[in-house]
């Protein structure tokens, strides 16, 4: 038998340990030195501006984080929330929202809305950022651009209340036929396609902002692509736009109501949608305000932050594809999915963020009906999860469709969308035995795939464009460009027409009640949640307006106050 050598505890081991310790110490020292050198280097190259402070009282500057880069800032082609947030600060429409969310005069000093049209009288002192006046012609030019099929604005339908807009957008009429004209430089005359109950709310929306023709033509394709390629008529002007890295807004000296604007600069030197990174910036004192995600809640409680909350108005749901070759065009399959869907469980257990409400309807809880909340006046039909009934519907669907292939669920790649999608994947597999394949895409790509119809189901959401239930009610109209699943139901179309053309609140709300009923009874989509937001903000920053509809957050009327 071989003799086992005694374990070695000789000086060699000790020497090795000593070597290791020395090596470790050297590593740490080198690393620390490198960090110091980098910090020093960045302070030199940054010219001192590398250190951003959240709030600067002297220059009245606030520093913020931007979640995403706006694709471009041509208001006639914008679609996303970030673009509208910036446009809301640098542009102004005929009418705007004030600090208490009331409609107040913007470029128009007064207006008159009649069943067949409207007249706006523009104020004399409204100026572009180059000092020239804002005229009625700038609105005519911008509105024509929006509906011009050559401009291919995805939001063109928002101008459809204006006479001939739809016909122009579908190439049956020339763009000059649009029902808007400049009677004089300061009088804008609008003709309606039919009566519109909420035109004043519509003109506050970004697609109705003015664009000056000579400037637009001088920039050509580049209009809105950079800070210098835009002309501003709002409270602020963009003075710096480093793509993907930095946006800076400064007070517009030509703005007619400049005396009410207190902030001089809104600096956004960080572009990240990562709430963890944003919260760290806030903790460092680099930014004045940020939103919170689920991961930061414990920490927020521990750091004893004073949290703000508001409803951002968006509704999230799972949309189906109604193209005939898709299994989801089968109503029994959709019913089966609807009957196992439990949005309360999704919101309370999986998403678990305060402010989120379980989805029950396309029409969110904050909408106003005839007098009180719409939801109280028109409670949505209640769908209680019932697995036995769901399996019955699934059996019928199997008879009609044969074997059901795995369904593709298209979704964003954000943390919440991920959780939501994987929750559904397990839910439908467990309860119905339906296999779900997840197609995770970035926001832009998700929209593109939705538009081309490349999905069975898609986790989508809709934010309000104006404070009227119609902003949700017309989404499934057969002619709506955002009806990506191509749902077509004459009964629903008829109700949308009523809601669009009637002026009587009762008739309109009845129509919305009907639309709500059809959407649920025909299982057109699965409501997921209504979004609420949590945020934390420096106490010195006051008067920031968080909105459900309109520019959000709005720093136009914000001011700085040193806390005692």
């Amino acid at each position: 038998m071989d003799a086992q050598p005694a374990p070695r505890r000789d000086p060699v081991t000790r020497a090795a340990v000593r070597q290791l310790l020395v090596l470790g110490a050297v590593c740490v020292a080198v690393f620390a030195g490198l960090m110091a050198a980098l910090a020093w280097a960045s302070s030199i190259t940054g010219g001192g501006s590398a250190v951003h402070r959240a709030i600067d009282f002297e220059t009245r500057t606030i520093t913020l984080v931007l979640e995403d880069e706006p694709p471009q800032l041509d208001s006639t082609r914008s679609t996303d929330a970030i673009s509208f947030r910036i446009l809301g600060h640098v542009m102004e429409g005929l009418i705007r929202y004030d600090a208490s969310n009331d409609l107040v005069p913007g470029v128009a000093e007064r207006w008159e809305i009649r069943p067949e049209g409207a007249t706006f009288w523009l104020r004399e002192d409204a100026r572009w950022s180059d000092g020239r006046p804002v005229t009625a012609h700038d609105f005519v030019f911008a509105w024509r651009k929006v509906v011009d099929p050559a401009n291919a604005s995805e939001y063109a339908f928002i101008l459809y209340p204006v006479r001939h807009a739809e016909a122009i957008n579908t190439r049956t009429l020339p763009v000059e036929q649009l029902g808007v004209r400049a009677v004089s430089p300061r009088v804008l005359e609008v003709e309606f396609e039919g009566p519109v109950a909420f035109f004043d709310k519509l003109v506050a929306f970004g697609l109705y902002f003015p664009v000056r023709e000579d400037f637009y033509e001088s920039r050509g394709e580049r209009y809105g692509a950079d800070a210098v390629d835009l002309l501003y008529n709002g409270p602020f002007a963009m003075t710096r736009w480093v793509h993907g890295a930095h946006v800076r807004l400064e007070k517009n000296p030509h703005y007619w109501n400049r005396d009410t604007v207190q902030l001089n600069t809104i600096d956004m030197p960080y572009v990240t949608s990562d709430t963890t990174a944003a919260v760290n910036l806030f903790k460092d004192g680099s930014i004045a305000s940020t939103g919170l995600g689920q991961e930061q809640l414990e920490e927020a409680m521990k750091l004893r932050w004073n949290l703000g909350r508001y409803v951002d108005g968006s509704v999230f749901y799972v949309d189906f594809n109604f193209r005939p070759e898709r299994p989801t065009s089968n109503v029994h399959l959709r019913r089966a999915l609807q009957l196992v869907n439990d949005s309360a469980e999704l919101v309370n257990k999986v998403i678990a963020l305060p402010g989120y409400q379980p989805g029950v309807s396309m029409f969110p809880g904050w909408l106003t009906g005839v007098e009180g909340p719409f939801r109280h006046e028109y409670p949505p039909p209640v769908v209680t999860p019932d697995h036995d009934k769901a399996r019955e519907h699934l059996a019928i669907a199997r008879q009609e469709l044969g074997d059901i292939r795995p369904l593709v669920l298209l979704t964003d790649d954000s943390p919440i969308a991920n959780k939501q999608a994987e929750y559904y994947q397990n839910l439908f597999q467990r309860t119905l035995g339906i296999e779900i394949r997840l197609d995770k895409q970035i926001f832009k790509q998700r929209l593109e795939k939705m538009t081309s119809g490349d999905f069975d189901m898609v986790a989508a959401g809709w934010g309000p464009d104006y404070a009227d239930p119609l902003t949700y009610g017309d989404l499934y109209a057969s002619w709506n460009g955002n009806n990506r699943g191509l749902y077509e139901n004459p009964e629903l179309d008829a109700q949308v027409r009523i809601a669009q053309s009637s002026l009587d609140p009762r008739t309109r709300m009845d129509a919305f009640g009907e639309i709500q009923r059809i959407l649920i009874e025909d299982a057109v989509h699965l409501p997921a949640f209504e979004r609420g937001r949590l945020f934390v903000q420096r106490p010195e920053l006051r008067g920031v307006v968080r909105r459900t509809v309109g520019t959000d957050p709005d720093y136009t009327h914000a001011w700085l106050e040193e806390t005692p």
């Binding site: 409680m301 999986v350 969110p364």
Partner: protein, 472 residues
């Protein structure tokens, strides 16, 4: 001066085959026996070998021993850290409450510093608090525009740190609130604040400490498969909930089960891909080294070309070429890309070794004695390169495991809900600060596997090195 040699006839007699003069004092050791002996002596390598074997058992036999579905979501135990087996009290099924849940106001509340004003009084529970729901009622304040309900896991006193705003109620008479938001079995401080006419908060607040009891209804317990028959348990009973020894992830999935199933994916890629590409490397390398000349030039330049190809790009290309749609597993294209792009390193090593061995005298002797090519390759070349090949293989395994983890981390690998260590780490990193165990376990698994294979490779290199033969 040397005397001339004189030969006797006896000198030309053959000698008789007598008994050997000296027998070997110890049994002779073959190359492999010696290597194994030296590997066993190397404690570090031997422990690594044991860990590698344990990982194999963990991946292969684990799911039989712990037969929990890695995709099953236990939404009542989301992001649970490792803990003792939980139990729950049986209660009546949840029924909607006549009281108010949150009502989002149309005009959001104004976020301004709280002003002086009255507080609600008599904040109390409408019924015992459970994890199903916490139902609060209080006595209202005349003229209030509404109330805001906050919840914290810390005491709000003394600096009015109320915690999370759960929701609003609208109107002075709405004096109840139901909280169902992720209620856990822990201590909560609920606070209620009055909203004044101007929709801003009043500074006074009422606080209530609540400790909800973990509870489920009998029907739910049956639906989830925790009890066989709901009619045999009644409110007041206690049942055991599914136990998660390593806790759960952000969707309540059992981390231990996911680690085991993830190990299957990670080790499959980690072992199969190197086996295949080292094999390919042996074939190409020995062909190039043995034939030499033009063939050698051609094969080695081709290897140089393959080295220059970007792995990630090819992985994506294969994914497209294979028609792997969204939501389908990308493991096969990953394997193909790994095999097609990683063989040159092994091929170069083997070629170098073969070139060296080819020059050895015993190979030349063997050739002179008429050995055929096949005999030369299998008798002399391959055994001589075996050590190099084995070491390459053991070092290739951790790098393949790491590649798989990296690709799954960036979402190129497995499709959900299939776990792999990389995708688990990706999911865990989002909750790194609040629930570190979701990241730590898969990260630990990856580290241990990579370290064990590396140390084993190290030990093998020492053990298989012929020059170390016979030494300690």
């Amino acid at each position: 001066m040397t005397p001339p040699l004189r030969f006797q006839p006896a000198d030309f007699e053959p000698i008789s085959a007598g008994p050997p003069t000296a027998a070997p004092s110890r049994p002779s050791l073959s190359y492999w026996q010696d290597s194994w002996r030296r590997l066993r002596r190397n404690r570090r390598a031997f422990v690594s070998l044991a860990i590698v074997a344990a990982l194999g058992v963990f991946a292969v036999a684990g799911p039989w021993i712990w037969p929990r579905d890695p995709a099953a979501q236990d939404v009542d135990q989301i992001s649970q850290a490792p803990a003792l087996p939980p139990t729950a009290a049986i209660v009546d099924p949840y029924t909607p409450w006549a009281g108010v849940t949150a009502e989002p106001p149309a005009d959001g509340p104004r976020w301004e510093p709280a002003s002086a004003g009255p507080s609600v009084t008599n904040l109390r529970l409408a019924e015992p608090a459970t994890t199903q729901a916490v139902r609060l009622v209080w006595d209202g304040v005349e003229g209030a525009a509404g109330y805001v309900v906050y919840r914290s896991v810390y005491d709000p006193a003394p600096d009015r740190a109320l915690g999370l705003p759960l929701g609003d109620t609208v109107g002075a008479a709405r004096v109840s609130y139901e909280d169902r938001l992720d209620v856990e079995e822990r201590r909560y401080w609920y606070s209620v604040v009055v909203l004044g006419e101007d929709s801003t908060e009043r500074d006074a607040y009422a606080t209530l400490v609540v400790e909800p009891v973990r509870a489920v209804s009998a029907e739910e317990a049956e639906l989830r498969g925790w009890v066989a028959d709901a009619s045999r348990i009644s409110p007041g009973d206690t049942i055991a909930l599914p136990y998660h020894p390593l806790g759960t992830d952000y969707l309540g999935r059992d981390l231990l089960a996911r680690l085991m199933h993830g190990a299957r994916v990670s080790l499959f890629i980690g072992v199969v891909a190197p086996l295949l590409y080292v094999l390919a490397g042996i074939v190409v390398g020995s062909a190039a080294g043995f034939i030499g000349g033009r063939v050698d030039q051609l094969l080695m330049r081709f290897a140089d070309f393959v080295v220059a190809l970007p792995f990630l790009l090819f992985m994506i290309l294969f994914k497209v070429a294979f028609g792997i749609g969204p939501g389908e597993s990308g493991i096969l294209p990953m394997l193909v890309a790994l095999v097609l792009l990683s063989w040159p390193a092994a091929a170069r090593l083997v070629r170098g070794q073969i070139l060296q061995v080819r020059q050895e005298a015993y190979v030349a002797a063997s050739r002179l004695l008429g050995a055929k090519t096949g005999y030369l390759v299998f008798r002399h070349m391959i055994p001589q390169t075996m050590g190099v090949i084995l070491v390459t293989l053991t070092f290739a395994v951790p790098s393949a495991i790491f590649t798989e983890a990296f690709l799954s981390f960036i979402g190129m690998g497995v499709a959900p809900p299939t776990p792999s260590w990389g995708s688990m780490a990706n999911e865990g990193i989002r909750t790194m600060l609040s629930h570190p165990h979701e990241l730590l376990f898969p990260a630990f698994a990856i580290s241990i596997a990579v370290l064990a294979f590396n140390l084993l490779g190290d030990g093998l290199r020492d053990a298989l090195d012929v020059r170390m033969r016979g030494r300690e």
